[in-house]
């Protein structure tokens, strides 16, 4: 296993393995028998922005702690890029209150045995600039606002060019503006080729930021894949609001839309049809269309379908 990681670290750029993180049966049982993470098999593709989705307490942070070597897995294995190439934000920011933002970054840079000391100051300044803290670089951490602290933590994760960025709830405590900035940052970082593994309990966030997602529930990984494949598990449907239910149903059936249902309105799977075409057909057939909409299943539906649980809408 050691050699595998080393191999990956030294692999020539052309032969990039397909996955940034894989886990196999990764399990953490705490003393007392509580299973925090239950045999999960993560597959985080290289270059992806992977949303690690799940309600609070579903085992996301425990998984991240195992990946970062903070806690020992009870069972299972994982592969990761070497930690020197991984930037991480775990369970909120934590810094030395009596040091300035810059001094804090230099402190953590010093802890990295492979960080070149000569460029430390420049890299710290760059990271601070990137998260918009350049002006507050000399200010003591104690005086930072919650949002600034969160940004400083992201800056610490960006101190060096990374292969992998692990961000645990990166938008916690940020105002809407800050949240937007973090999303933009993630996009930037991903564009540079860095794999981003971002945990969140906010569906919307993952839907907007990520290319892939894995869904955790009570310690188990219940689904993972591309966002499209996850939400595309069930097809989009067209819904027609009309008093002429029977007529509308006949038109849809004639167009060979599958699974036509009649209730208080008429719905059917959209298939490959264009909604405006269907509307035209309905009008031609003399159906009085009051409203027409396309309903796509969202991640939330997938999640509720998979776990029977809802999300707390806003953490």
């Amino acid at each position: 296993m050691t050699s595998e990681v080393l191999l990956e670290a030294g692999a020539p750029s052309g032969a990039a393995p397909p996955a940034a993180i894989t886990t196999s049966g990764l399990t953490k049982r705490f003393r007392g028998g509580q299973v925090a993470v239950d045999a999960i098999d993560l597959d985080v593709p290289r270059g992806s922005v992977y949303g690690f989705l799940g309600p609070n307490g579903s085992g996301k942070t425990t998984t991240i702690r195992m990946l970062l070597g903070l806690i020992t897995p009870t069972e299972g294995t994982f592969t990761m890029p070497p930690l020197t190439t991984v930037g991480a934000l775990v369970e909120g920011p934590a810094f030395y209150p009596y040091l300035s933002g810059e001094a804090n970054l230099l402190r953590f840079d010093a802890a990295d045995p492979s960080a070149p000391p000569r460029t430390a100051k420049a890299r710290a300044a760059e990271a601070l600039e990137r998260v918009g803290l350049a002006a507050a670089a000399g200010k003591r951490y104690r005086a930072y606002s919650l949002g600034m602290r969160q940004r400083l933590a992201i800056a610490a994760a960006l101190l060096r060019p990374r292969r992998l960025l692990v961000l645990d709830e990166p938008t916690n405590g940020l105002d809407p503006q800050g949240t937007r900035e973090v999303r933009a940052l993630v996009k930037d970082v991903a564009a540079e080729g860095t794999t981003v593994f971002v945990s969140s309990h906010l569906l919307a966030e993952v839907e907007q930021m990520c290319t892939h997602a894995g869904i955790m529930s009570a310690g188990r990984l219940v689904a993972q894949g591309t966002i499209a494949s996850l939400s595309g598990g069930r097809a989009a449907r067209i819904r027609i609001d009309t008093p002429d239910l029977e007529a509308a149903a006949r038109v849809l059936a004639a167009l060979e839309l599958p699974d036509v249902r009649v209730g208080s309105d008429v719905t059917a799977e959209l298939g490959g049809h264009a909604p405006e075409r269907i509307n035209a057909e309905l009008v031609v057939a003399g159906v009085a269309v009051r409203g027409l909409s396309v309903v796509r299943t969202s991640l939330e539906d997938v999640f509720v379908g998979l776990t029977g649980e809802g999300f707390d809408v806003d953490g």
Binding site: G69, E75, V86, V90, S114, A115, P116, P117
Partner: protein
């Protein structure tokens, strides 16, 4: 060996990139989109990086107001003792410490030994216990420990840095007292040959050398305490808990030493050996090897315990 164990090995030894800088520069040109990890300049190497972390640690310790205040208070004690001795005189000194105090009035160097005698049993250990007890638990408490380990500082490496830092503080504590006492002594009392406990008189330079030996011995004693405090520090996430536990240990052992029934226990207790620095005041210089061996034993036992505990500990703070 379970698979999890192999993995453990993997994550603790983050792979360095075994490719030369020139080659990586070339790769950078060839593959600009590859995350530029591979294009970083050659890491400065294990030893240099270790010193960098140690320097960072020392910077935190010796810039932290709390620690500076402790050093200042300790350095102040010899000043107070010196001034009191100078102003009240020592005519009525009788027996025990009295004679030592009288000797102080007669020679500038003796103030160092008086000050150390006064501070070694409790005050200096408290200062060392605060820094060493805080070392791991404090980082765990503020959560910075998880970021240090994710950096990745490496557990053994971080523990070594933390201990060396505590040793440096032990030396600083001892040196602060000795230097302050030396300066105050030279200012207030006559400079000249020193009378030892054995009744022999040695030159001022010889006296200075003996102070140096004393500082070394007392520092070693404090470093042994630091190992105990460090081990306790790995057991908790509340630094005040580790500090308090160390202080309780010191006080309990000091109390145990007061019972003659427990004389048999004394050689195994750390504080028993702290006062062994008076060997430097004998002629020939007293055998300090017993104390140094005891310190070594304490350091070996508690440092290895700290390592065993810390390297396998789940960091969940």
């Amino acid at each position: 060996m379970s698979t999890a164990d192999t993995q453990t090995g993997a994550r603790r030894t983050p792979g360095l990139v075994p490719v030369s800088e020139t080659r990586r520069s070339a790769e950078r040109a060839a593959a600009p989109r590859e995350p530029s990890v591979l294009s970083e300049p050659e890491p400065s190497g294990g030893v240099v990086a270790f010193w960098r972390l140690l320097r960072s640690e020392l910077g935190l310790t010796f810039r932290r107001p709390r620690n500076l205040i402790m050093l200042g208070v300790l350095a102040l004690v010899p000043v107070i003792i010196g001034i009191v001795l100078k102003s009240i005189g020592t005519e009525d000194a009788d027996g025990g410490m009295g004679a030592l105090l009288a000797a102080t009035a007669g020679n500038s160097l003796m103030l160092t030994f008086v000050a150390l005698s006064a501070l070694v049993p409790l005050l200096m250990p408290i200062a060392v216990a605060v820094v060493a007890g805080d070392s791991i638990a404090g980082e765990a408490g503020t959560g910075t420990l998880r970021y240090l380990l994710a950096a990745p500082a490496g557990r053994g490496r971080l523990l070594a840095v933390k201990y060396l830092n505590a040793v440096a503080f032990s030396v600083a504590v001892t040196a602060a007292v000795a230097v302050s006492a030396l300066v105050v002594g030279v200012l207030l009392f006559p400079v000249g040959p020193v009378t030892l406990l054995s009744g022999t008189t040695v030159s001022f330079a010889d006296g200075l050398l003996r102070i140096l030996i004393t500082v070394g011995y007392v520092s070693a004693g404090m470093a042994a305490l630091a190992a105990v405090a460090l081990a306790l520090s790995t057991l908790t996430e509340v630094s005040i808990g580790a500090i308090a536990a160390t202080l309780v240990l010191i006080i309990v052992t000091q109390v145990l030493r007061a019972f003659p029934q427990l004389d048999w226990l004394a050689p195994y207790l750390l504080p028993t050996h702290w006062s062994g620095f008076d060997g430097a005041l004998r002629d020939p210089i007293g055998d300090m090897s017993g104390g140094l061996l005891a310190f070594t034993a304490y350091i070996a036992l508690f440092l290895s315990t700290a390592w065993a505990r810390f390297s396998g500990k789940d960091i969940s703070s």
